[in-house]
């Protein structure tokens, strides 16, 4: 292990680190929005849309992100839709993550007691009001563990962006190894960099899970 090699690579890794963080953040937020929407539409069995979203969830969950990215990056330009690698990456991550988040939300929503729904209905709420004031707040708290697992999963999944040449952490490490043949040093930095992102995120999510659960149900 040559520490000089490592210290020389740090500025490049810092850039990659920022990019990984940014891509993850956008991807996770997008996935949460798509997932919540998709799951609520399925929960209330909105005609046509709910079948459409069920198909989407199945398609997205049952194909690898790698293949989805190849499609966006290499196949879409053939039909005249050319996007930058970063755009493809973010769209791909939200496409995949949205489906996983949808499943996470669905698990939580189905855990909301029927008596709570009955209470909401008996007060004259329509589906939109039920969704907003009853199903979502309680279901969200119940979904937290699944959503948190998805957040971790999606951060790690950004490493696949390396195949379409987005200079995030994994791509940067592989690039450096290709140029300087120093795999031990660069892989070491890579592992540490992911740990620096993921360990605080995991701790934070654990805390958040308990907070949300307590705030909603008081236990």
């Amino acid at each position: 292990m040559n520490w000089q090699v490592i210290s020389h690579s740090l500025p490049i890794f810092a850039q990659a680190f920022k990019l990984t963080l940014w891509l993850s953040l956008v991807g996770i937020l997008g996935s949460l929005i798509v997932g919540a929407l998709s799951s609520l539409i399925q929960y209330f069995k909105v005609p046509i849309l709910s079948q459409l979203f069920t198909a989407y969830v199945e398609l997205a969950r049952n194909t690898p992100l790698l293949i989805q990215l190849f499609f966006l990056y290499y196949a879409f330009p053939v039909i005249g839709l050319k996007m930058s690698a970063t755009t493809c990456g973010i769209i791909g991550l939200i496409f995949l993550g949205g489906a996983y988040m949808a499943e996470g939300f669905t698990g939580g929503f189905s855990g909301v007691n029927q008596t709570q729904i009955d209470n909401g209905k008996a007060l004259g709420m329509n589906n939109l009001q039920l969704a907003r004031y009853v199903v979502f707040p309680q279901g969200f708290a119940l979904s937290m563990p699944a959503l948190a697992a998805n957040v971790i999963f999606l951060i790690k999944e950004t490493s696949i962006f390396s195949v379409i040449a987005i200079p995030e952490l994994t791509n940067t490490a592989l690039d450096l190894i290709g140029m300087y043949y120093r795999s031990n040093e660069y892989l070491f930095v890579l592992v540490v960099a992911y740990a620096i992102v993921l360990i605080p995120v995991i701790l934070l999510l654990n805390l958040l899970e308990r907070r949300v659960r307590y705030g909603t149900f008081g236990d």
């Binding site: 007060l123 004259g124 709420m125 329509n126 009001q129 004031y133 309680q138």
Partner: protein, 246 residues
């Protein structure tokens, strides 16, 4: 004759092949209290849930103030603002304070002004002796307190009829009295029209203008309250009353 509030005509309900409710007919007038009595599994709760569309029925009709309710989701949503309901399970929304629980439907569903509703809510909370708990969360309340809040939450919608489905059944005996007193006051003082499913026979005897006695989804008796408790017409109802009275 006082105004008719609810009328049920030839209502039948099936779960698959099972015939749950058989040809239910009755009429409820303004200010009347109707109690549904009968053994467990006789269809009391199912029937009361049909009256505000929480359960759908297979045939027959429900009329609200003489008008037949078309059983669509949208219609039921409108009607439910006028038919309040309180359940056995005293579920308040756990993520909201008592006051937020009470204000939610009037402000969001009925779009009434928040400060006016809040003022009214304070009055109602006082009536049930819980004015100190406006900012508490449901988890900080006992079962009986939660059930009182649930009643307030239904009343603030200004319903024209209240459906009360075994509202004391899962409470400690000590808590039951308070709830029964609130219902009695609602009837005697505010002349609230009510349908009550209960196993509290003493209470039913006091409050019932009319008794529907159900068994196996059929109305065996539709009798004025006093007459029912003095001398039930059917032997089955007699047995039932005797079994409740040790």
């Amino acid at each position: 004759m006082t105004e008719e509030i609810l009328r049920v005509e030839n209502l039948n309900k099936f779960y698959g092949d099972r015939h749950i409710l058989h040809d239910i007919n009755f009429t409820l007038h303004q200010g009347e209290v109707l109690t549904l009595l009968g053994p467990s599994g006789s269809g009391k709760s199912t029937l009361i849930r049909c009256l505000n569309g929480l359960e759908d029925f297979s045939s027959g009709a429900v009329y609200f103030k003489g008008e037949k309710i078309k059983p669509t989701d949208k219609n039921w949503q409108e009607i439910r603002q006028k038919i309040g309901m309180v359940f056995q399970s005293y579920d308040l929304f756990p993520n909201l304070t008592v006051m937020e629980n009470i204000l939610l439907a009037p402000t969001k569903v009925q779009k009434r002004a928040k400060d006016q509703v809040a003022q009214e809510a304070e009055g109602l909370l006082k009536d049930v002796g819980l004015e100190k708990y406006a900012d508490s969360y449901p988890r900080e309340l006992s079962g009986g307190q939660k059930q009182r809040i649930a009643i307030v939450r239904a009343l603030i919608m200004h319903p024209e009829v209240m459906l009360l489905d075994e509202v004391t059944a899962s409470l400690d005996p000590e808590m039951v009295r308070g709830i029964l007193q609130i219902m009695t006051k609602l009837s005697k003082k505010h002349h609230m029209t009510m349908i009550i499913v209960t196993h509290e026979m003493g209470f039913a005897e006091q409050i019932a203008d009319q008794v529907l006695f159900l068994e196996d989804g059929r109305i065996l008796e539709n009798t004025p309250g006093k007459a029912f408790f003095a001398q039930p017409k059917t032997e089955r109802a007699r047995d039932f009353l005797e079994s409740m009275d040790f």
